[in-house]
Subunit: 311 residues, 2 copies
């Protein structure tokens, strides 16, 4: 793999940015990697562990002469970062992001970017429940999808170059419209996370009743939920607030279905339950056949990493 | 480890019974292992793969002269199996089960057992989403809890012997009252499974809208749910119908909390969301510290097995 961008600026140095730095180095995709973070502590750690070639104090400094700028901050911070970097972007630079929501990010970022800059929103479908500059690793994006949601008028060559960059990081790259992205992710990621958070919260209340038994005997089911619900609180707050419409729509369907199953339990309608559970079992097979999971506990990736969590 | 029972009869030959057979052999816990299943196909496979020392056509035949009888059938089938074996049980035999619900199993089984037989309900907190006689493996119970819920009047020596047997299978053994078991499991297992089934069902409906994208882009969150929702439909139908009261109680709390979070999303109350997500994050740490999970994707067990699923 050869160099695709001369200078890549990572704004925010958490799990995703850190993993991008490792993945870029693995494949030699960037001439120089510059990083920055709002927190002085994060910048200090990034310097200590050599996460980037150079760490700057401000985002405005980081983006100077960069031909790729990646916004790796929580969705709620995108507008202020875009406002800060806008005047300092190099002509012809590509700006992308890794946020879990796309329509809202576009609304926040696009107004602050000068003409001549290519803005191509993106979303790598990969993550763990860990966060911070220590959390990244080069294999995070391997064989996972990165979705690009270019807005009308974007130069195809700029999009294609960003696609090659993500492929160099190990990802499969696809394009879709931003509103479609937000609906699909509300189903596959955002609503499941909200539900997991809720169930873990209920268990926490009950823990006061049953002492530590809820944790002690936490088995499959609840244990998977706790892994999901351990994800970064700030990131997820922003996801729900910025993908409000799609999340509320899917939540509405979810509670409708849940009430139907609840009624079946109350009335003893075993056929309804059995039919429903048989149908959902088939979906698992589809996911394994689509290559997005395996029967093995490491999801086919090797045993050294945990890959569940925020996306 | 030395022999604890001369003859163990396994009634039903699915994942749990198969794993018990492997675990008993690993530790030499049984003089003879006899198995039976209602399905002729299951019995045939069990013979072919040498799962037991002997496979009988009926449960009545299997339990003859057995000093340990383990009921490994779905909870809804316990009463009829108990009625069949009752007259054929050896005096002084211990009867136990592996059902996920305890009060209902006791109500179904106890009336059919003759005096002089020790009935000690049990529940190994272990499973995968796979089922059938092929699915078992010796390590399934290693370092997992098996809960025993002896009823008043049970001889302590019989309970202690069954406890040593489960420890020989690799499990940590604890005792608790049956009603308490059912509440704890409603929180840690039953309600989470129902929720996962529901979310996967909602996604299945939407798949017709978004083609195969829900599966293609199924990432952490939803992917974990599909693993849970792939569990055996008959077993889970019976769990919900037989642990109705506790499941409905926990479901009520769950929807109450979910609606509070939904309102926070609708009204844009980011503080409420952030506080909630921060609280749930801490619970994950408790589970890892309790030794019931690890940061590693194989949960510390080695990379060859999947251990999520029904419990």
């Amino acid at each position: 793999m050869s160099m695709i961008y001369n200078k890549v600026a990572l704004i925010g140095l958490g799990l995703i940015a850190g993993s991008m730095a490792h993945a870029m180095r693995r494949a030699g995709l960037a001439g120089e990697i510059v990083g920055t973070a709002r927190s002085a502590e994060t910048r200090k750690i990034a310097v200590e562990i050599g996460l980037c070639d150079r760490v700057t104090e401000t985002a405005a400094q980081a983006v100077k002469e960069a031909d790729l700028v990646v916004l790796c901050v929580p969705v709620g911070a995108m507008a202020s970062v875009a406002a800060e970097i806008g005047p300092h972007l190099a002509p012809g630079a590509t700006v992308t992001d890794v946020g879990s929501v796309k329509q809202d990010v576009i609304a926040q970022v696009a107004p602050h970017l000068p003409t001549g800059v290519h803005f191509i929103p993106g979303h790598p479908l990969a993550g763990t429940e860990h966060s911070g500059p220590h959390a990244g690793f080069a294999e995070l994006f391997d064989n996972r999808y990165t979705l690009l949601t270019p807005v009308p008028g974007t130069e195809p060559e700029a999009t294609s170059r960003l696609g090659r960059f993500w492929e160099g990081c190990g990802a499969n790259v696809e394009e879709m419209p931003p509103d479609h992205h937000d609906l699909v992710l509300a189903v596959t990621s955002h609503t499941p996370h909200l539900i997991a958070y809720t169930m873990v919260g209920v268990a926490d209340d009950l823990r006061r009743v049953t002492d530590s038994e809820v944790i002690k005997y936490s088995a499959a089911g609840f244990r998977d939920f706790t892994r999901i619900a351990a994800s970064d609180p700030t990131m997820w707050r922003d996801v729900f607030l910025s993908n409000k419409q799609a999340t509320l729509e899917i939540l509405g369907r979810f509670t409708e279905e849940l009430f139907a199953l609840q009624r079946a339990i109350r009335t003893g309608d075993g056929d309804h339950l059995h039919d429903y559970f048989t149908r959902t079992r088939g979906i698992r097979r589809g996911i394994i056949e689509a290559g997005q999971d395996t029967d093995a506990p490491d999801f086919g990736r090797g045993a050294s990493r945990q890959e569940d969590g925020p996306e």
